[in-house]
């Protein structure tokens, strides 16, 4: 059997085949009985795997299903299928291999299964063995001493936990909250998602509620923001009450109290954990005398101003021309969209410097031009600074009269489209180096050829370069995309500092700093 034929079959089965290859596969399938047999063997394997996956992930505890009464004739129609389903379920139970646990709460062999993933965190500190940086959460008990986390279960439910809290993930649909506060946002796929407490279980019937459990007395307070929640007795599952949108409940010692409303307004919501983490950036950084400018891209009362949060520094606020305010890395975070030829922000980086680092968070929509400007001095004279991206996505730039771009070495992968990306350009005249980092990794390395000229960026444009008359023949360099943060440092940031900036600003914990590898053969 030809390996290429088998590859074609596998590609087709997994929706990765091109139209040409699909036609080729059809020809081969017409001609070869052996290939047709291979296709059937693969289908058998996939049927077994699908069935096994269904047992593995769904056998332990089904989400509660709400039955509606059916007319008698409808019951008669579906009865055979119901019996069939029950038979399959019982057969499945009997067939389940030893490594599949059946009882809830004792899931030793499944302890490595991923039940939820960490979407984001802010200052999260676990007292038990949970390692920070490990985004997978399986069944088990977690003690969050401080901070907030955002978990996404594989069924799509979002769970925000605010420390201090202790919770036990039992499976995709059931989590025990021993104490602390949570907010659950539950899509249709996770209907029935239940937070269990000592006395009561809170079963989400869609779509959002928050709950606190007291450490001392186990008192529960729950507020339904949207949809409804069933409150059930934790011992016998009896429905105690259905709480509707906008309503709240307190439950203590087996009694429901409709007393004081709980204030959940300060409780984190998805997206703002990352935003909060970013806003609380290291105080040391804000007091760092070498940070000349930090533009956090907050829209002010004058929407044409781009404010420098370092008010004590000499870099003045930027002036926005054309670029429009849009959303940034998190809900509530603003960015500027550059999508027209004349969009830019005018900023000034005054003075002469021996070292300079420029850091930006950018999301590129397309590389329309040969050069796509990040930040460029208005001119192109000795000491001017240019930082841009080529049409192929490679970062490029340096100091005019100091760097020789022909001696640059490109490393790593190009800048991706439609993904928030951290770019840092670092120039040091004493070290004779010019480097550009993409998502914390060195992507361009250059050697300075002239160490006599200082760095003198002066007036610059962010997101564009509209050259003076002597360069009018140069093609446009307008950026197509968003920028939501700019920092200017008068020292050469080292790799560790760049990685720290990246960690503070990463969109969330699932954001992957790796970029797709270069596949084009580019001639420079």
């Amino acid at each position: 059997m030809n390996k290429d034929d088998l590859d074609l079959v596998d590609e087709w089965r997994h929706h990765r085949i091109s139209e040409d290859n699909f036609q080729k596969l059809q020809l081969r399938l017409r001609a070869s009985a052996k290939l047709r047999a291979e296709l059937r063997a693969l289908a058998d394997l996939e049927e077994s795997l699908t069935s096994k996956a269904l047992q593995t992930f769904a056998i332990f505890e089904e989400p509660p299903i709400v039955f509606k009464p059916l007319p008698v004739n409808r019951i008669l129609t579906i009865l055979p299928w119901f019996i069939a389903a029950a038979s399959i379920f019982l057969a499945t139970l009997a067939w389940a291999p030893q490594w599949l646990p059946i009882k809830k709460q004792t899931l030793p062999e499944l302890s490595h299964h991923i039940t939820a993933i960490l979407v984001d965190e802010e200052g999260a500190n676990f007292s038990n063995s949970k390692r920070m940086g490990d985004v997978s959460f399986g069944p088990g008990t977690y003690s969050l001493e401080s901070g907030s986390i955002h978990l996404r279960f594989l069924n799509g439910a979002d769970l925000l936990v605010q420390g201090p809290a202790e919770f036990e993930i039992k499976n995709e649909f059931h989590t025990q909250l021993w104490f602390g506060g949570i907010r659950a946002i539950v899509p249709k796929t996770a209907r029935g998602f239940t937070i269990m407490t000592k006395d009561a279980n809170f079963e989400d019937m869609g779509t959002e509620f928050a709950l606190t459990v007291g450490l001392e007395n186990g008192e529960c307070a729950m507020h339904v923001f949207e949809g409804s929640v069933n409150v059930r007795n934790s011992l016998d599952g009896k429905l105690l009450r259905n709480i509707q949108e906008g309503d709240w409940i307190r439950y203590n010692g087996g009694f429901i109290e409709n007393s004081e409303r709980v204030n959940f307004s300060e409780f984190p919501v998805p997206g703002n954990i990352g935003y909060h983490r970013w806003r609380n950036q290291d105080k040391l950084m804000m007091n760092d005398p070498d940070l000349m400018a930090w533009f956090p891209f907050n829209k002010e009362s004058n929407p044409s101003l781009l404010t420098n949060a370092r008010r004590d520094q000499s870099v003045r606020d930027g002036r926005i021309v054309g670029a429009r305010w849009v959303s940034g890395r998190w809900p509530g975070k603003q960015a500027l969209l550059f999508d027209r030829d004349n969009d830019y922000v005018q900023v000034e980086i005054p003075g002469e410097h021996q070292e300079l680092s420029i850091a930006v968070w950018v999301k590129i929509d397309s590389f329309d031009n040969d050069m796509n400007a990040i930040l460029n001095s208005n001119g192109a004279d000795a000491g001017d600074f240019h930082f841009q991206i080529t049409r192929q996505g490679w970062p490029r730039g340096g100091i005019i009269g100091v760097s020789d771009s022909r001696k640059n070495k490109w490393l790593g992968s190009p800048i991706p489209l439609a993904k928030w990306t951290h770019l840092v350009a670092v120039t040091s005249i004493p070290n004779k180096t010019h480097q550009i980092y993409v998502n914390g990794k060195l992507a361009l390395e250059g050697i300075l050829t002239n160490t006599q000229a200082p760095i003198r960026p002066g007036f610059c444009m962010l997101g564009n370069w509209l050259p003076s008359p002597e360069y009018l023949d140069d093609p446009p360099r307008a950026l197509r995309g968003r920028i939501d943060e700019l920092q200017v440092w008068k020292r050469a940031l080292d790799q560790a500092s760049i990685e720290r900036l990246l960690e503070q600003g990463r969109p969330n914990q699932l954001w992957n700093p790796q970029n797709p590898p270069q596949t084009l053969n580019i001639v420079w």
Binding site: H14, R36, A41, A43
Partner: protein
């Protein structure tokens, strides 16, 4: 129709359908690649099989008989629903694959039953990965994002695991047949 069947016939039908459902489903899966289409066709096959159950003489031939029904239902489904959809096999190829498959029902059943043993031979991480990739609603894209891998890298890895399992199943069958 169904009203004329006795309770015993009900029980027998359900028992046969339950026993042979994996093979019938696998025969559909060989030519249909979308899970929701597979489910819909299987449902149609079950209904037709129930309606025609009194025409089945040999109960031992239930699986083959149901696979023949599946063949016709698939051709009808393709004609009605997915005629112009990309990457659907042409009807003549579909028919060939299905007719040949009807001669191999017992082979298919044996293959399906070998998976458990072969999964045990896989390292735990690989076993969990391949099962996760086949769970309902899981896409290569979402799984790759979750694991921080490239889609292509993950696809190649899953393909290797599938090959490993397939070779293991072939080996187990050969052992059973006394070939090795």
């Amino acid at each position: 129709m169904s009203q004329s069947y006795s309770e015993d016939q009900h029980q027998t039908f359900i028992s046969l359908l339950t026993r042979h459902e994996p093979v019938i489903r696998a025969s559909i899966r060989a030519v249909i690649w979308q899970q929701e289409d597979i489910d819909e066709i299987l449902q149609r096959v079950s209904i037709v099989a129930w309606q025609k159950f009194n025409t089945l003489i040999e109960r031992d031939g239930f699986a083959v008989w149901a696979c023949v029904i599946a063949r016709y239902e698939i051709l009808k489904f393709k004609r009605d629903k997915v005629r112009d959809r990309l990457f659907e096999l042409d009807p003549d190829i579909t028919e060939k694959i299905m007719i040949e498959g009807e001669q191999e029902v017992s082979l298919s059943s044996r293959r399906i039953n070998q998976l458990d043993r072969c999964l045990e031979h896989l390292p735990q991480k690989r076993r969990e990965l391949i099962l996760t990739s086949y769970r309902s609603g899981c896409s290569i894209k979402s799984l790759a994002e979750t694991l921080g891998k490239s889609q292509d890298g993950l696809y190649q890895l899953l393909k290797r695991i599938r090959l490993e399992l397939k070779l293991c199943i072939d080996r187990q069958m050969n052992i059973e047949d006394g070939i090795t």
